[in-house]
């Protein structure tokens, strides 16, 4: 077995070098560039950042918006999870699924849909304007509050899903034990349910914080004069102040790492998982008034959630320039959609997004599978390092990676592992790949860990070589994990905006950028049609990816 051992050691080293080159190296370059000018090493950029009150202000904006987003999302998501997991009322199943919808939608689509519904010239504003006969739009959807609103709307789903999963795992016997020991409803909540849910809640808080901190679409479109770090970095770079952009990038990364450290540190090891038995029985709501309220509340919430996307759908059928002041569009057409598919220039972004998302997903899956074999199967000594490197792009905001990759691939120095890719078609798919690594590897490594190792041994004792055993036993059993990882990675790539806006070229412009440019040119119908297309594609991929018969046994 020693030759295969040294081969796997070599494989692990090779993979670690590859992932390190893709993930760690660009960040190191950003760090060095932030203290390096064409004239040599310098602390000038750092000093300028530190002495500029505006920079601190932007950084503070990023932090408080993220914290407020966590609070707001918890406020919406947790009660909703309890409602859907513990009580029964008419429509619970359908609504429960609808409420989880934002998780499959690309952030930019949500933001644009929000704009169409609640924006200054949006549907809701028009309605209020018409009802009260106002001269001007009743509000402007701009600034911090607009960003918070969008965050709450698109990120509460983390709290909702993780809390529900945590509740479903609660051992009902534990609740019964507490009740039989005389605990009343509040004591039960405070002493049993909440402590057991703590890991789920902290997990959701972490996920929300990191997503909010990295959020780019919402501040970019609704921010107006209100800047957060991700938008600030992009604007600084557009102004040609590269050194400053590097310092800002480093600052944002540090805040992200601090958030991770703080929330991970308090997460502890309290586990609620691994309990056998049935989920706690759902309580039927007894009081008719409360039941009606829960039902109505559930439905209203679901409709509120879906309204932006319905607006998007509606707008995608409106001919250019026909809907001006009326409450409802006066005319409908399918020409927006035919334009997407018949005009080569409009079809191009769709083709781009599809190939870049699928290509990056396939490579990410291959890397994740190799990592799974080396980390879990061969228990490589480099495993922890490899796993940490693969997870890094999740910790670091997308803007940071976009800037880092742009920096790394703007210089021709093959000996230093750098080539010029900026301006070529390869940079964007490479960025998608980096962003997809944590998504696919997390799912696939978990899949490997759940596999019974004796299945592999059984295959070996039945005479199967390594490849046959991989092909016939390991991969088929990993299918659900691969499907889950592939789905999430593909949908992330398909709807990506945050890295695309920094790295795209005219030839590689993806759907998200085209939505934005259509919007700027006033092609609202076209933008909406792109948005609907992106939504439908994401949803279809999700259904295909999750609809797997569970392997029994």
């Amino acid at each position: 077995m020693s030759p295969s051992n040294s081969r796997s050691r070599l494989g692990a080293l090779g993979l670690l070098l590859l992932v390190g080159w893709l993930v760690v190296y660009p960040l190191i370059l950003v760090l060095t560039e932030s203290v390096h000018s064409p004239q040599g090493w310098t602390l000038a950029y750092v000093q300028r950042f530190v002495s500029e009150p505006r920079e601190w202000h932007v950084l503070w904006n990023s932090v408080w918006i993220s914290v407020a987003s966590v609070a707001l999302c918890a406020l919406i998501g947790i009660p909703l999870a309890f409602l859907f997991e513990w009580f029964t009322f008419p429509g619970r199943r359908v609504l429960g699924a609808l409420v989880a919808l934002p998780v499959v939608l690309p952030p930019l689509v949500g933001v644009v849909a929000f704009l169409f519904l609640y924006g200054e010239t949006g549907f809701a504003a028009r309605l209020v304007q018409a009802v009260f006969g106002l001269e001007e739009a009743p509000w402007r959807l701009q600034g911090a509050w607009a960003i918070l609103l969008v965050h709450a709307y698109s990120m509460y789903v983390y709290f909702y899903l993780l809390t529900r999963a945590g509740l479903a795992r609660l051992d009902p016997a534990m609740l019964e034990a507490a009740a039989s020991l005389g605990a009343g409803r509040w004591r039960l909540m405070r002493r049993v349910v909440v402590p057991l849910l703590a890991p789920s809640l902290l997990g959701a808080a972490l996920l929300t914080f990191m997503t909010a901190l990295a959020s780019f679409s919402a501040p970019y479109i609704f921010g107006g004069g209100f800047r957060v770090m991700p938008t600030q970095i992009v604007f600084t770079r557009l102004n040609g102040e590269y050194g400053m952009a590097m310092v800002q990038t480093v600052a944002l990364s540090l805040v992200a790492l601090a958030g991770l450290w703080f929330l991970r540190g308090s997460a502890g090891q309290a586990g609620t998982r691994g309990q056998k038995g049935t989920a706690p029985e759902r309580r039927h709501i007894e009081s008719p008034a409360v039941r009606v309220a829960a039902t109505v509340g559930g439905w209203v919430f679901a409709v509120l959630l879906l309204l932006p996307h319905l607006t998007l759908l509606l707008l995608s059928f409106v001919p250019i320039g026909t809907w001006t002041t009326q409450l409802l569009p006066p005319a409908y057409t399918t020409s927006n959609y035919t334009a997407l598919f018949s005009e080569p220039e409009r079809l191009r972004p769709l083709v781009n997004s599809l190939w870049m998302a699928s290509g990056s997903t396939l490579v990410a899956l291959a890397i994740a599978l190799a990592a799974g074999l080396l980390v879990v199967r061969r228990r490589s000594q480099l495993g922890p390092a490899l796993e940490a490197a693969l997870g890094l792009p999740w910790v670091v905001p997308g803007t940071v990676f976009a800037i880092a990759l742009a920096t790394m691939f703007s210089v021709h120095a093959p000996l230093a592992g750098r080539v010029v890719l900026i301006g070529t078609v390869w940079l964007l798919p490479l960025a998608y790949l980096v962003r997809n690594l944590p998504i696919s590897s997390r799912s696939i490594l978990a899949g490997f860990r759940a596999l019974d190792p004796s299945l592999d041994e059984a295959a070996a004792s039945l005479g199967a070589g390594r490849w046959r055993s991989l092909w016939r036993v390991t991969l088929p059993l990993l299918r659900p994990a691969i499907a889950a990882g592939a789905t999430l990675a593909f949908v992330t790539g398909l709807g990506d905006f945050v890295t695309s806006v920094v790295l795209y070229t005219y030839d590689t412009r993806p759907l998200s950028l085209e939505i934005l440019s259509s919007l700027r040119q006033g092609d609202v119908g076209i933008a909406a049609a792109y948005g609907v297309l992106l939504m439908v594609l994401s949803a279809v991929v999700f259904v295909l990816g999750s609809d797997r018969p569970a392997v029994s046994g």
Partner: protein
């Protein structure tokens, strides 16, 4: 194999001073066992004794630090599992959940290049051997525990391996199924006539399935022999106590004769009907089977004690007798031989007594 050996039954499977260490712990410490073709070996020992490691070394999932494993004259010590042609039945069966019963059994046959009609025939034949004819298209998850066990057995024997390995084959079954499945396994092994190694921590299973039993402790082989030998001629106190019921008493040798030994026990003395190579005055450990002891009348120089417990099993009863020095011994007797709390005499019988040097 060339006819090197002049023996009638040349060893077919040889474990030659096989050792394996995991960090600080020695899981196998110079394990040496030989098996003739078609023999069935049971590896018996408490948990942590190294029996599963020994099986995994045989299967090739672990490589020994030193020593050799030879099968049919071929040194397979460094062979990967796939090249050994050993069949294995796993403790939790390890049936492939995404394949049906037929595909599971086909897996090992396909490794040998068996195809088409021949493949179907071999699958059907294997299923017939475990009495699951017609189960080819069943899903693994639909089967009961006992059926899964038999499919695992069929899958292991289908490629006609040189050696069959079974890891705690009955530990996952409920007690009512164990007896039946054990008989079935024995039947299949006998019909196929395959050289087999079974790991178990249950003495019943080891004695029932193994023609040869190796008792392991802390990675070492304590004794190898037939079940009868292990029971009637245990090599050391550990084997004597681990195999079968027994009581152990520390005693002093009082007299050593040519065909008898007298030992002092509590308030009296026993005359054992064999010579032990222990000098008078030496400390010794007496291991006595319950059936080796008899209840008698107290007094008259007999060792006396009080019955503290009586366990009735039907044909006989087991009496726990507390001797005058506070120690206890278990005695088998007729159901009506004594009642709890009565004073009885205890005396040794002819067989089932083992005297070891103390230490």
């Amino acid at each position: 194999m060339e006819a090197v050996s002049g023996k009638v039954n040349p060893p077919y499977l040889i474990l030659d001073r096989v050792s394996k260490r995991f960090g600080e712990t020695i899981a196998a410490d110079g394990v040496s066992i030989e098996l003739s073709r078609g023999q069935v070996l049971a590896l018996l020992g408490p948990s942590g004794s190294g029996k599963t490691t020994t099986l995994r070394l045989l299967a090739g999932f672990e490589t020994p630090d030193s020593g050799r494993i030879v099968v049919d004259g071929e040194d397979v010590t460094r062979f990967p599992p796939a090249a050994r042609r050993f069949g294995m039945v796993f403790q939790h069966y390890a049936l492939f959940p995404h394949l049906d019963v037929g595909e599971n059994i086909a897996f090992g046959l396909e490794s040998l290049g068996v195809k088409g009609e021949a493949l179907r025939g071999r699958i059907a034949e294997s299923l017939r051997q475990v009495e699951l004819e017609g189960y080819e298209r069943r899903r693994v998850g639909e089967l009961s525990g006992g059926q899964q066990q038999r499919v695992a057995l069929a899958r292991a024997i289908a490629p006609e391996p040189r050696v069959l390995l079974l890891d705690e084959p009955l530990s996952n079954l409920d007690p009512t199924l164990r007896e039946r499945t054990r008989r079935e396994i024995r039947g299949v092994i006998e019909r196929v006539g395959i050289t087999t190694v079974i790991v178990t921590h249950e003495q019943d299973e080891a004695f029932d399935l193994g023609q040869i039993v190796a008792v392991l402790r802390a990675g070492r082989v304590e004794q190898v022999g037939s079940p009868d030998q292990l029971y009637s001629q245990p090599a050391n106190p550990f084997v004597a106590r681990f195999v079968g019921r027994s009581s152990a008493l520390e005693v002093a040798v009082m007299e050593q004769g040519p065909t008898h030994t007298v030992i002092g026990v509590a308030d009296g003395a026993w005359r054992l009907p064999f010579a032990a190579s222990l000098p008078a005055g030496a400390k010794a450990l007496l291991v006595a089977r319950p059936e080796a002891m008899r209840l008698g009348v107290p007094g008259n120089g007999a060792v006396t004690g009080r019955v503290v417990e009586r366990r009735f099993t039907g044909a006989t009863a087991y009496y726990t007798v507390q001797l005058s020095d506070g120690r206890s011994i278990e005695v088998e007797g007729l159901p009506e031989a004594a009642r709890p709390d009565t004073v009885v005499g205890v005396e040794p019988g002819e067989r089932g007594l083992h005297l070891f040097p103390a230490g």
